[in-house]
Every structure is written in C-alpha cells, then in structure tokens.
C-alpha cells in the first residue's frame, strides 16, 4: 500500500491499470480527457499491456468495448455528458447482452445551456439503462469503487455493466491523497477475467443480440431485474472482502451521524464530503443533524434507506440534477418511494447545477430549513436552493433591449 497524489481521472486510470484491462477504446471529452490521454500514454510506454483502439465517437467506443470484452478481456472506456448521451443506444446493448464493462463517468451537465461543468444529469439520464451506478465522494472512492465495481459487475449472479461516477472537476481535477493497493492484492481480489454466458470465440460461435420476439423479451428483461436484486445481496459481501483485503470500508449507503439526528440530508457524490463537514460544525453547536450518503444509485438500496431514515420526522434530499417535469429530483423520487407509507416528510432540494459550487453555506441553509420544519414550523422549502434573484430575467432579450 502506497500513498499517491492523484486527481479523480488519475485514480480511475489507476483502477483500470490495476484491473489489467486488455483493450481500451476511449474518446476524449472534457472533463474526462485526461483518462483517455493517460491510458494512451500508458499503452505507448508499455505500462499497460493493452490494445488501444482509436475511435471516432463514444458510440463506437462503447461498441468496440463490448466486442472486445466478449472475447474475454476487461475492456476500458470512459466518458462524460454528451459523450455518455451519444453512447445511449449501445449502453443498452452492453447491459442486455450482460457484458460487465466497468466505465468511469465524469459527471457533467447535459446541453443546453452549453456547459463543461459538474452536474449529475448525464448519469441520471441513463439510470434505466441497465447499468449499475456507483457515486464517489472523494478521489479515494473513485479508485476503491472502480475495484469494487469489477468484482460486482463480473459476479456470475450479476453480470451487469457498471458506471463509477465522479463529479466533473470537483473530483476529476481535484488532487487528493490516495492509498493505492499493490498489484498482487488486486490480482487476488479481482481474479482473471473470463467471459461468462455470452462470448465471442471462432471455435464456439453463437448468436448474440439477435432479434428477440415478445415470446422471450419479458423474461430476458426479468433476468436483468433479478441481477439487480442479486447485486443488492452480493455487494455487501464484496465490500466485506474489500475491507479484509484493502482495509477500507465501503457501503451501499453511508449513515453519517444519523442515529440521534433530528433531521437528515440525503446526498450523492462529492457534495457528501462538504455536507459531512457541515454536520460536524453544526453538531459542535448542538444541532442534531446527519447525512445519508447514497453510494449505489443502481441498484437503489431502498430497504437500507428506509431503515436508516426510520422514524425521522423531516428528511431533505439534495439533487445535483434538475429532474425537469417531475415533482422532485431523481434521488428525491427514489427516497420518497423508499419511505412510502411512513410519516416522514421528504423535502426536495435541487442545487449545484452546471458547475455551481455546493459550499458549506448551501448545506447550512438546507439544514436550517429542515430544523425549522422539525420544530413544528411548517414551511415551504426552497427547492431550488442556490437560485439567484430574478432568475427569469437572465438572458431575456426583450428585457435587455428595453433597458438599453
């Protein structure tokens, strides 16, 4: 075990290298580019024994990765934002054909407005794609969740591809101190990859992804559903083994000072660290607040969420994507669904869009509202928590002209 200073992109690459990926097909996109570039450099310097396929788009990057992995190697690719959107069609091929590719997704807003910056909408738009989704709090998480993801994805009872999500810039470009495991330990934790169920082998040809009639479609979808159920059962076992091997604990959800908390905020991604920091500050002032961090969004561990939030009067959920047209953001919808039939009030918050920072002040403001609600002052919560004043005047051409 050695300490290295890595940013999130470098930690993702470290994970791929330790997993001994055999084929890489990646297309660069901000803020993921460093992953595609670093992998290509490492292939050139023989630091990774892999074939690098130059592709012209993310659609092809994923297509090539699927074909490669079916031959019996771990295939590597990574993307972000509109790159992930361009992969959309083929994401379903990977999950439907049960090809357990592990892919870092560097979270960035979808267009428009055009943005390069952090937002979870890209991954949220793929939440029904049949991929597992794990979200990182910090750079250590990126590496650890990558290693965990290979084991989970490749488990014979799961066989689902996995996205390891890391916040654009706040993690991808933040340099942090990371404990990196030895190759030998990772080798014994992951084992050698072999293609299970479907495979591409000239000596044993088979049809893959052929036209499937309504006679079988439902059952094949059901197999995927069962795989997600299995994942909820198997991930804790893998995490226990991860702890024994590497000495760091991972969870499906992490409860942070929730036990005696009067109000709890549900978080996802890098905002969780800042939120924990705020919890410690407010606790020092005597306020009973806590955090429930969602690590696995797919599968969504609804039973664990229900247990963690049992008996809480007021809960807030901070989504980093807008959830347009729904009553609240995607994490709020899942949390509300997990708490159906209980008396818990679940407040939806939306913030940190398009790279807007989620500072301590934003989290403090949410806790203040939740505590007010807890103390029997029914309030209308500020759903769009970091909205500026007069948001409807932004870029309103007519109004700008009138003001000239």
């Amino acid at each position: 075990m050695t300490f290295k200073m890595l940013d999130g992109n470098a930690a993702a690459v470290e994970g791929m290298q330790l997993a001994r990926v055999g084929v890489i097909s990646a297309y660069p996109i901000t803020p993921q580019s460093a992953i595609a570039e670093k992998l290509s450099e490492m292939v050139d310097n023989d630091q990774i024994d892999a074939k690098y396929i130059r592709v012209e788009s993310e659609h092809t990057a994923m297509s090539a990765a699927i074909g490669a992995q079916l031959t019996g190697v771990r295939a590597a690719t990574a993307t972000s934002s509109v790159g992930l959107a361009l992969m959309h069609e083929v994401l379903g091929v990977a999950s439907g054909c049960r090809v357990p590719i592990v892919m870092p997704v560097v979270n960035r807003a979808l267009v428009s407005p055009w943005s390069l910056w952090c937002d979870h909408q890209d991954a949220m738009a793929e939440r029904d794609s049949g991929w597992l989704q794990f979200y990182s709090e910090n750079v250590q998480d990126v590496l650890d969740l990558m290693l965990m993801a290979y084991r989970v994805a490749e488990d014979e009872e799961i066989l689902l591809p996995a996205m390891v999500c890391l916040d654009g810039f706040f993690l991808s470009h933040s340099m942090q101190k990371v404990e990196c495991p030895d190759q030998a330990k990772v080798d014994s934790f992951l084992g050698k990859y072999t293609a299970k169920n479907t495979h591409l082998n000239p000596k044993d040809p088979m049809f893959i992804n052929d036209l499937t009639s309504s006679d079988e479609f439902t059952e094949m979808r059901y197999q995927q559903k069962v795989a997600f159920d299995n994942a909820l059962r198997i991930i804790p076992r893998v995490q226990a083994e991860f702890y024994e091997t590497f000495g760091r604990r991972l969870n499906l959800v992490e409860e942070y000072r929730t036990e005696d908390a009067e109000v709890v905020l549900v978080t996802l991604g890098s905002m969780s660290g800042t939120a924990k920091h705020v919890v410690n500050t407010l606790r020092a002032k005597g306020l009973k607040v806590g955090i429930l961090k969602i690590v696995s969004f797919r599968p969504f561990p609804d039973e664990l969420v229900r247990t963690a939030l049992r008996g809480k009067k007021v809960v807030g959920v901070l989504d980093r994507s807008a959830g347009l047209g729904a009553e609240g953001g995607p994490v709020w919808l899942e949390t509300t669904s997990a708490l159906k039939g209980t008396a818990t009030e679940v407040k939806s918050y939306i913030g940190g869009l398009g790279g807007r920072d989620i500072p301590e002040a934003t989290i403090e403001k949410i806790f203040a509202e939740l505590l007010e609600q807890y103390n029997n002052h029914p309030i209308e919560n500020t759903t769009w928590i970091d909205l500026k004043e007069n948001p409807l005047d932004i870029r309103q051409v007519d109004k700008l002209v009138q003001n000239l």
Partner: protein, 184 residues
Amino acid sequence: MIKIKFYGLGGQGIVTAAKILSKAVSIHEGKYAITIPAYGHERRGAPVYTDIVIDDEKILLNCFVYDPDIVLVMDETIIEKNVDVSKGKKENTLLVINTDNTATLEKYRDSYGFRRIFYVDATKLAIQNIGRGIPNGAMLGALAGTGIVNIDSIELALKENFGVKAGDKNAKAARDSYQYVREF
C-alpha cells in the same frame, strides 16, 4: 485546517503550483491536502485562481474556499483586472505577494486591508534561476517562508514534479525566494 487561495494569470502555473504544494505537505509531511481547481474559459494572461485546503487529518470539505487563511498573489496587476483578492478575507488572513514595490504593498495593505503581508520579487528570482519569468516555484518558496510548509518539502516536490534538471532550477528559485521573502 488551513484554507488557501492562489491568484494569478493564465500561464503562471498556479494550478501546477497548487498541486506541488499539496504533494509537498501530503507526501513529505504526512498531512492531507486537496486542490480544488476552478477551470473556466482560461487563456494565457487572463486572471485565474485555484484553492488548496491543508489539514492534519483527512479532509471532508470538497468545495471552493470562501474564507481563506492565506491569499497568494502571483501577479500584482491582478487587482486591475476586476479581481477582488480580499474577498472573504478574515482579520488575520496572510497575504503572500510577488512584488517588492513599496507603493504596491501599501496599496494591498491600505485598500485591501491585509495586515500581514509577505513579499518577494519571485519573477526576478525565476528569471535568474530558470531563465523564464514563471514565478510559481519561487512563490512556493515564499509560502514556505510563512511557516505553513517546510522549504525542504517544497524543494523535493518541485524536483519530483519537474524532473532532475528543471526541478533543480525551480528548487533553487524556491530556496532563494524562501531566503529573500520579507514581512512588510
């Protein structure tokens, strides 16, 4: 916990400097540091900033710095470019600045209210040592002069980052700056 903000101009290497500082304290002093870079529409010569948080324990915080304990200014003209380097300044916030011009130092003290100012002409030391006016290595030496990081750690991190030849020159610039930095 120490919260630091670096201000400079695109091309001065402030993001690199932040990474080197975080390596120096994390790898060579057993502490923890994270960098929170602000990437925007940068171009050479445009104002840029980057944040660093240092602590003895693992750092939970993962957002920009709004109340810095230390402000480091790589280019004194930054205040002419619509940047308020005193934003979020606390009573005892330290300023470390690349200048040896008394009028400039007075302006930073009187107009921006910095009570403790460390200064050195880092650009001159960079030109002398590395032949180019890129002051980032020298400014890290000046930062070591405030006592928040050891100059030996800075030198090691500079050598690791830039390799033998360029690393040695940058380390020399940092060492000189560490010796010449003065409190105003």
